[in-house]
Symmetry: C2
Subunit: 472 residues, 2 copies
């Protein structure tokens, strides 16, 4: 329903010689089939599909290097593709070119339980990683909902439900193997827990959305499985009571592992979708990790704070299967919400503000949605000050789409004015390029552009994402 | 005693016009006095002093921008200077130029206790920050020993004793104000706890040692003061028993706030310097933060692990004054050690390895020191896999210096072979430039060089540090 007309989508022709060279290199792992191209040119954003000219499936870092070298030679765009679960238009082939699918790079490279680290190929998903290490007593906490690949999660600086306790990909990636624009293979770090050895290339590629290099291997931190885990849900009379409970919990320094907010619409949707019977009121989902005693202590403090904010009783889920059911429902919220309005698509957005401004930011956004008669839900990783707005619109109704985009615009402007950010975890892609300038200002954008020019002088790496090539 | 002869120290003449312009701008805050230049051309490294041609004292970001613009115009080096406590030659004026002293930029910009953040000018020191926020119930944990400035700590990606629990400057800086090489003022982030909004400029300037921009303001995370704090020391029969105790503590996921190692020489030195009576055996210093019960639980687990490794009893310091005395002694270890050999200087180095390799890395380094009859001490932030070697040498004896440098060389090579890093927290400066190449390889160094060229095309920002301007 959307086309980024403002981004001059100059189509690069795919030279026959490049296609032949790729076919020679990869044989049946190079495809120009319409269905394959369509699959790789469609994401979870509200944009219409934009197809690459060909799709290649790499299995090793060396193959990625060879593919990128060829594309570099011919000046053809390369767009890395993991699970295709990104939300802001990251994988759309604005200018055509090659979609480089890394999902077959799904091997574990090394697990070092004694150092609490694992190195995986970029196509390993977070669920696969946790399955592979299930016998070590360790786990990888970062959980953006979708079963994304570690490469994609690194590239978008993903976070999700556990970030309030364990940090985001920014804090949990130790090192990367990256293929640069001219096809060199570099390693950005060691397995040391900390380092002051030169520029932080790791953090530079984390969040670069495929525009500075192609991530082919990821080394992440692992954590000992907590001795005790318990989860609880708790309903509140209104959004602001729930959010104030979270604010006070964070300000007191309670190390909650997860604290998720769903508004009444969100609860209604997951009740219907997952056959739950939660009260259709604003809800917080908590998870506590620690020793038996530690978990009890945390829960007691939070229950007191919740009660002081008018909450109902905690409903506990201590058995693993109950917890899984709860978190599955939370993760299904996006799809559950879509079913509230058959045929609708969701304009999904996220922002993140300093914790003290969260209640205000959410309530003003809620009011804006209501004033404009949008069917919406606000859900979020509120412990970080991060929340999502999902607005259900009829994709064939440009008026509805425009109204929702205006709500999004005002939400972002509001978050930035509160010293927050235009995206807490979705990334910039195409959708938030304008907001990036609003947030960072011309000077910082200029530095980002110099970075892009230095690392990718021919503009072949996921071109047209994050920042425009030229000054506006 | 050392001169980096390998770095062609081409001296840039200071143009009279530049000096006049700086004097007009800053009046008596621009000095060419020999004593002032000598002070700013001397650091805690083993290098001979290298003096800047002039020293300027800035008080605002706008002044820094004006100074850098002038230096940019004349192509004259600018070297940011905080507390002068860096250890690897960071502030030495290899090519002359201007030392830009930020210590008068010591104002608090904003404290947001409700968001657990503070923004300070770059010249505020960590002790000053903690004093300024003492009424908020919050604290800033990063503690590299020296009372360094927040700007300097950001620039060297500092860490220290609390990093095992709270992370390093990498994890604790939310945003920076930076003056770029051409004198623009940029902000690199917001106060949101997380963000996926574009390239991570914050992490790029953290650890860039003044070579990519001049940090003028720093926004950091704060933490609620723990409900309970307790500290204990514990002696071990040998280094490897102490280190194994640490390894097992970390592998079990015990959230110790501090765990510091001192070898027997280190203990001997602080006993003499601080009038303590600790057993002159390898020692661990622990600090536990949490609830009363949480601290007890942590301490119990660690005591069991220590006992299994042949440790003596824990000696507790629960009163704040006892803890202060203990940590003061730990922080004085460097100066205490110097007194073990009057007239000596210390060649101090640090490295960091994955935790499982720590015992091996320390014992091989110890053996190397002993085989070469060096008076040395190994101390460190062992919970992170990070340790220091201090070698006391006669600065007038080139043979001794050379032997110590060779030990350092082998230690770094050993750490890198264990998938560790050539510096955990001191930074690269001049001293570790060769090791940086060894650690990262030509490809990654090439990317770092492209970064430097993009951000500082005239090579005026602390030139000759971290990486050489040209390919070797």
């Amino acid at each position: 329903m959307n086309h980024p007309a403002n981004l001059a989508a100059v189509k690069i022709a795919l030279p026959d010689e490049l296609l032949s060279a790729l076919q020679n290199l990869l044989e049946d792992r190079c495809s120009i089939a319409q269905a394959v191209r369509a699959h790789h040119g469609t994401d979870e954003s509200s944009y219409d599909p934009m197809l690459p000219d060909a799709v290649v499936f790499a299995q090793t870092t060396d193959e990625v290097a060879a593919i990128v070298k060829l594309c570099h030679h011919y000046g053809v765009p390369v767009i890395p593709y993991g699970a295709g679960s990104s939300l802001e238009g990251h994988i759309l082939a604005l200018r055509g070119g090659i979609s480089l699918d890394l999902s077959q790079m799904n091997k574990m490279v090394a697990v070092h339980p004694e150092d609490l680290t694992a190195t995986v190929q970029a196509g390993v998903t977070r669920k696969q990683l946790n399955l592979e290490i299930r016998d070590t007593g360790l786990f990888f906490p970062i959980d953006p909902g979708a079963d994304a690949t570690l490469g994609g999660m690194s590239a978008t600086r993903a976070s999700g439900t556990n970030a309030v306790r364990y940090g985001t990909m920014r804090e949990n990636v130790l090192a990367l193997t990256v293929v640069t624009a001219d096809g060199r293979i570099i390693k950005t770090g060691s397995r040391a827990k900390k380092s002051s050895a030169g520029y932080d290339l790791t953090r530079l590629f984390v969040g670069s959305e495929g525009t500075l290099g192609i991530i082919t291997e990821v080394t992440v931190k692992l954590y000992p499985l907590p001795e005790a885990i318990s989860a609880a849900v708790c309903s509140f009379p209104g959004n602001s009571e729930a959010v104030n409970c979270v604010i006070q919990t964070i300000q007191m320094g309670v190390p909650v592992a997860r604290v998720e907010f769903l508004d009444a619409n969100g609860v209604r949707a997951i009740n219907a979708h997952d056959k739950l019977t939660l009260p259709e009121k604003p809800l917080l989902l908590f998870e506590f990790h620690g020793s038996e005693q530690g978990v009890r202590e945390q829960a007691e403090i939070v229950q007191e704070i919740a009660a002081a904010n008018g909450a109902g009783d905690f409903e506990w889920a201590t058995r693993p299967e109950d917890r899984s059911r709860l978190w599955a429902a939370r993760h299904n919220a996006y799809f559950a919400l879509l079913q509230l309005r058959p045929g609708a698509r969701s304009i999904s957005t996220d922002c993140c503000v300093p914790i003290s401004r969260l209640a205000e930011c959410i309530s003003e956004t809620q009011l804006d949605c209501e004033n404009h008669h949008i069917l919406y839900s606000i859900i979020g990783h509120v412990g970080d000050g991060n929340f999502h707005v999902l607005m259900l619109v009829d994709p064939s109704n440009p008026q509805e789409v425009a109204v929702a985009e205006e709500v999004n615009q005002r939400m972002v402007t509001r978050a930035i004015a509160m010293d927050g950010t235009c995206t807490g975890e979705h990334g910039v892609g195409i959708h938030k390029m304008g907001f990036l300038i609003e947030e960072h200002g011309a000077g910082a954008i200029h530095m980002m552009r110099m970075l892009k020019h230095a690392f990718d002088p021919k503009n072949i790496l996921n071109p047209g994402k994050i920042i425009a090539w030229d000054e506006a």
